[in-house]
Subunit: 370 residues, 4 copies
C-alpha cells in the first residue's frame, strides 16, 4: 500500500538530512482532556479522533518529518492491566491511530512511524516468547495499514528493546529504537554504549534515547551510545526525543521520581530558547533525528525546525506565525517589549519562577530510597 | 436567530449558578502555531478554523459554559496597525469566529459571547465618536450571527470600556465588562470601585477583571469593585478571567512588564492545584462567572469546574479523563507515585523550578522606570 | 567626671557631621559564645569583659563614633524573668558595661551611650509609675559612670519610649530614641510620623528606628517619622540602626516571626555591598546617625564608614585592612578573582545561596495568624 | 620546654578520642578588621595580638582541643610577594603567633599546632631544595617556641605537601597534613587515595582535607583517602577542616571560583545545624580530628563539640550559653518562637535566603573556562 514516491526514513538519514521528530502526545492530550494520567493509554484515537488529528497537524505544521502513531502503551497486556478502556480493543486503537497519522502525514512531507513501547509482560514474566508475541500482535495491526517504519520507544531494559527490534525487523521495514535510560545505563546497569551495540546487532537502523530526562542529559547518553558503536566498529543513525522539562535532580529514576510528577511539572517546562540550545547541541553531537517526548508542545518542535533551518534550507509552515528569536515583538507598543525582539535578549534571560516560596531543586524519590 | 430554549447568561447568574468561563486563546494558539506573538490577532478563525474549533471544544469539554468568539484585537484599526493580515477583513474574521463558537457551543450547554477589546484608536484619538464607531462596526458583524451576549475585555481605561458598553447595550443583549487593571486602578488612576460603578451606570450587567495579573491579585481587584458597587447602592454580577501565571512582581504594568513576557513564561504557569485554590477564593468572594485568560489551558478550566462541582452538581465531560486530586495515580507501578493520589499531597507541594541558576522573582520593567 | 574636651553627640550632629553608630552586640556575642539566645541578657560584661571589650574595639576600629553600653535587656525586671543570671545584679552589669564602653571609646574619637530597652513591666502592668521607676534605676547606675548621652532602643510601643525619654531627660544629657517598628506603626498602630512627634515632645533630641526589619524598610519608616515632624513643625536629628538581614516577608512582626529566627539567619545576612547601598540611601534621606543592630558585624560598620568617607573626610582605622570596593583583589593569583577588584562587579552581583533545595522567601509567623 | 603532663595529639587519637579542631582565622579576622582580603597574611599576630588572642579563646571555649598558630601564608616568600607587610618579619609573626596560641591553649585542655601552608615558590620554581628551605626556616621559628605538633594545610599539590612533611618530621614531632583538594584529586590529577598514601609514606601521622569545598564534599574526599590507605595496607589518623559554606557548584576550582568569593559569601554560610550533620557524618566516616576552616566561626565549632558530646562525655564551656538544639527558646515570649525549641524543627528547616532576585546556584569560574 505504500506510496512509491515517498522518500523513506533511511533515504533521508543516509543523505545526511536532519529529520525533525514530533513531540509528546500523552501529556499534552492529558492537558487537553483526552488522556488519563496514571493510565496514559491512547484510546482517544478511537474516542476523539479530532483531538489526536489536530495535535498531529500541529506537529506537522511545526516542522515534524515523522508522525508517530498515537499507540503508546497500546499492547494488549498493558491495556488490560490499566483497566481504563473496556469496550475498545487494542487492535481498534492501533488501526485508528495509523489512519490518523497517515491522513495528517500526507498533508505534508512526513512519514508515519508505528510505535511500540515497553510491556508489563516483560517485568512480570521475563518470557521472550510471551513478550515477542505481544510485539508481534501489535506489529500485525500496524501492517494492515500504511506505515513507513517502526519505532521502539520508552523501554528501560535493553533486552526487551532487542526483542522488540527482532520482531519488527521481520517486517523488513526500518526500525528505530530509543531507550528511556540515563547516562548510567539501563535498569540492569547495562551501559549506554553496550545498549547501542546490542540494539544494532538486533537489527535496529536508528538508535537513541527518549523521555525520562532533560535534553542535555539525553544528549550525553546518546554520545555514550555513539562512542559504544564506534568502539565496536558498528554504524547506525542516532535519534533523540527527550523530555521538555528541566530535571537536574534525576538520575536512574527519571522524572517520575520528581515530587512534581505528573501534575505540577509546569515550573520545569522548557522555553523555546532552551530548545534552540538543545537542537544545536544534538546536531553538533552528530544526531540527525531530533524530536521530543513528554513536555514537547508544537512550539518546541517549531524551535527545533527553526534552529536547524539553515541546515535544512527551509522553515516550517508554523514559522509564518513566529518571528525568529522574537522578531515580531519589534512592533509592540511598549518600548521595553520592543527591546526584546532579538536573539541576545532571549539567549541570556534567566527566567524567574514567580514562586518565591518554592525551591529551585527537589529531592527525587530515588534519592529517598538510598 | 437565537434559540428559544437556551437559558441566557443572566438567567443563569440570577439563579445563583456558577458560570465557568473558557480559557485563553491567543497564547495557547501561538504555542499551537496559529497566532503570531506581538500581533496577537485572530486571523486563524478564517485561516485555520479546525485549530480554533478544537480549542473551543477542549474548553467546552473542560466545563466551560461560555464560548467566547475568537475576536481578540479584531477591530479594523487594530488589524490595520498590526499589519499581520492583508487579505482578510475584520468582518470576515468576526463572522467566522461567531460561527465557530456557535457550532461548538451547541455541542454542549454553552452560550456564545461576542468579544471586543481595547482599540488603538482610544489612546491615539481619545475621540468618543471614532471609538464608538469602531465598536459599533464590530457589534454589527456579531449581530449578523447567533450570539448570546457581549463581553468587553482587556481594556485598561475605564472610559473606553464605558463607551464600548454604551454601544453594545444598544443591541439589548446582556453585556459583561472586564478591565485588565490592578488593585491600584486603571491607567488614569481611577480606583476599581469607581470603575465598577461607572461600568454599571453605563449599562454593564456583569463587571470584573481579566488578564494582566495573577488570579489572587485579580480577586483582590474584583473585591474592590464589589465594595465600590455596594457603597454606591448598585448591583451587578461579578466575573473574573485572570492570567494563568504567577506574577508577584507586577503592579500597574501587568505581565507585559515582566522580563519573561511573552516567550519565557513557562516557569510561571499555574498548576491545576493553584487553580483549585483560585476558584475557591473567587467563589468565596461572591464571584459567579469564573474563567481564565492568557495561560489558562483546558486543564485549568477543568480544575475550576472540578473545584465547584459540588456547587454545580456535576463534573465536566473531560473529568472522565481525570482522577480528582490525582486519584488515578493510585494504580501507578511506582509506590512513591501511588503515594501522590490524594489531595493533601498536591495542596501542600511547593513545586521546584528545576532551574537552579534562575531567580524566583524578576525586576519588572515598570520598576525600572521609577 | 566627663572630659571637657570631648565634643558631644549634639555638637556633632548640629555641625552636620555624619555619626557612625556601632553594630549589634547580642547576636554577635551569641556566636562568639558569650550570650544565650532566648535570654539575650548582657551578663558577659561582668563574666567575660575581654570578649565585650574586643567587640567594642572592633566597632571603634571600623569607624564607630559611638560605643553603646552592653546593657540590652538589663532592667531588673527583665533579668529576673529571664532567670539566666543568678549571682550578678543588674547594677553590676550596668556599671561594668559603662566602664568597658568608656575604656574603648577613649581609645578613639568616640562617645559612650548608655542604653535602655523595653521592659517586660510595660506590657504586664502598663503602669507609668512602675515602668518609670525601672528606667530611673538603670539611669542611676549609668550616672555613676562617665557616659555622654542616652539611647532608648528596641521599644515597640511609643508610649513606653516616651516614658523612658521623660525619665532620662531628667539627667540633662542628650537622649536618642529608636523604636523597633515597621512603616505601619507601633504595636498599637500609632503611625511613625506621630511616634516621632510624641518622642520629640517628650524630650528626645534624636529619633529613629532600630532592629526588627531590614535597612531599606527601616529607612522608609524613618522617612515617615521625618515627614511627621515636618508636618508638626518640629525638629530633631534622625538616627537608624536596622537589622543586618534581608527580611522581605516581615511587616508587623519583625524578624522574630521568620522561620529562620534566631538560629538559621545566615542566609539572610547582608553583604558589605548591601551596606554601602543602605548607608547611601540613609544619608540621602537626611539621616546623620547611621549604625546597625542585630546582624551588623564590624565589617558592616566599616562599610558604612567607607561609604560616607567622602562626606566625613577620612577612612576608619580598619580600612587599612580593606581595599575599597575589593581593590586588594587586584593582586590575586587567579585571573577571574583579579577581575573582581572593582565596584561595578560587587554592586551588580546577585549572590547565589548555594542551597538549591531552599526557597527564597518564607511564610512569616504573623502571616500564619491571619 | 614542653609540659610533661600534656597528652599529645597521637595519645588522644590512638586512644580513640574525638579531637575537635578550631575554626577559620583569616576570613573571620578580615570581618573583624585585622586581615586584608586578597593578601590573607597574619601580621595581626604582631600588630593586634588582642584580636588574635580573643578569637583563639572563643574557639577554645567552643570546645577546640587544638589551637593552630595564626601563621597562614607566613612563609618568607609569600610575605614578600604579598607586599602587605613591610616592617615585620616572618619570624616575628611566627614567634608571636606561637606565644598567643600557647597562652590560650594553656587556659584549657588544648594543644598547639604549628601550621605551614603552600608556598608561591613551589609553583614558581618547582625546586625541592628551595621549597624545603622555606619550610625549614618556618619550622625553626616554631621550634624556638613551645608547640605540640605540626599541621601542613592548604596545599593543593601533594608533592609540595610531601616535601613539607619530610621537613617537619625531622623535628620528631607529630605531623598532620591536609590538602585542599576535591574528590577528583590534586592539581596534577593525583587521586585522593594516592595522595594519602604518599603523605603517609612521607611521614604524616594524620592525613585529611581542609578548606576549598563544603563539608559533605570534603568528607567524600577523606573517604577516598581512607580507602586508598586501606588498599595500600597503611594506617593513619584522619582529619577534616572544611569550608563553612555551601559550595555545590565547585569541583576542581574550589570556592575561589565562585562569583561570591570572597566578599559576598554570606548567603552560603552554614548554620549550626548544618554543622551538626557534618560532624555526625565525619564521625561515622571514621574521622576523629574534626574541625573547620574558612567560614567556621566559634559557634560552628561549638556545634561540632555538641554533636559529639555523647562520645566525648562532656560539653564545651561555651555551651553554658547555648541551649542544645534551641532549648533556650522555650522561654521566649512569642508562642511561635517557643515552638522552635527542639531538634526536629531545626533539622527540617530549609532556610529561605530572603533574596528573591538571587539564584540558588552560580556558574563557577572554572566552568567558564571549559
Amino acid at each position: 500500500m505504500e506510496s512509491k514516491k515517498r522518500r523513506g526514513i533511511l533515504d533521508r538519514l543516509n543523505a545526511g538530512e536532519v529529520v525533525v521528530g514530533d513531540g509528546g502526545y500523552v501529556m499534552q492530550l492529558e492537558r487537553r482532556g483526552y488522556v488519563k494520567a496514571g493510565h496514559w493509554t491512547p484510546e482517544a484515537a478511537v474516542e476523539h479522533p479530532e483531538a489526536v488529528r489536530q495535535l498531529h497537524r500541529e506537529f506537522l505544521r511545526a516542522g515534524a518529518n515523522v508522525i508517530q502513531t498515537f499507540t503508546f502503551y497500546c499492547s494488549e497486556d498493558k491495556l488490560e492491566i490499566s483497566g481504563n478502556v473496556s469496550n475498545i480493543s487494542g487492535a481498534q486503537i492501533n488501526e485508528a491511530a495509523c489512519d490518523l497519522a497517515r491522513e495528517v502525514a500526507n498533508e505534508g512531507d512526513a512519514l508515519v512511524a508505528g510505535c511500540v513501547s515497553k510491556t508489563p509482560c516483560y517485568v512480570k514474566s521475563h518470557s521472550e516468547t510471551k513478550v515477542k508475541a505481544i510485539f508481534k500482535k501489535q506489529m500485525d495491526d500496524f501492517l494492515k495499514k500504511d506505515i513507513d517504519f517502526f519505532i521502539v520507544e520508552f523501554v528501560d531494559h535493553v533486552e526487551e528493546a532487542e526483542w522488540a527490534v527482532e520482531v519488527l525487523k521481520t517486517s523488513s521495514k526500518p526500525v528505530g529504537a530509543t531507550l528511556c535510560i540515563s547516562p548510567q545505563g539501563d535498569m540492569h546497569g547495562v551501559p549506554p554504549g553496550e545498549c547501542a551495540v546490542r540494539l544494532v546487532r538486533a537489527g535496529a537502523d536508528i538508535v537513541g534515547i527518549n523521555c525520562h530526562l532533560d535534553p542535555l542529559t539525553c544528549i550525553r547518553t546518546v554520545k555514550l551510545m555513539k562512542a559504544g558503536l564506534e568502539n565496536a566498529g558498528l554504524k547506525a543513525h542516532l535519534m533523540i526525543q527527550p523530555l521538555g522539562f528541566h530535571t537536574p535532580e534525576c538520575n536512574l529514576g527519571g522524572y517520575t521520581s520528581l515530587p512534581e510528577y505528573p501534575f505540577a511539572m509546569e515550573t520545569r517546562a522548557m522555553t523555546r530558547w532552551d530548545v534552540h540550545q538543545y537542537a544545536r547541541e544534538a546536531y553538533d553531537a552528530g544526531i540527525r533525528y531530533i524530536g521530543g517526548c513528554c513536555g514537547f508542545e508544537p512550539y518546541h518542535i517549531r524551535a527545533i525546525a527553526e534552529e536547524v533551518s539553515a541546515e535544512r534550507g527551509f522553515l516550517p509552515p508554523a514559522s509564518e506565525k513566529h518571528g525568529l528569536w522574537g522578531a515580531a515583538l519589534g512592533m509592540h507598543t511598549k518600548p521595553w517589549v520592543r527591546a526584546r525582539a532579538h536573539r541576545e535578549y532571549w539567549e541570556n534571560l534567566l527566567p524567574a519562577s514567580g514562586r518565591p516560596k518554592c525551591p529551585s531543586m527537589a529531592t527525587a524519590a530515588d534519592d529517598y530510597e538510598k
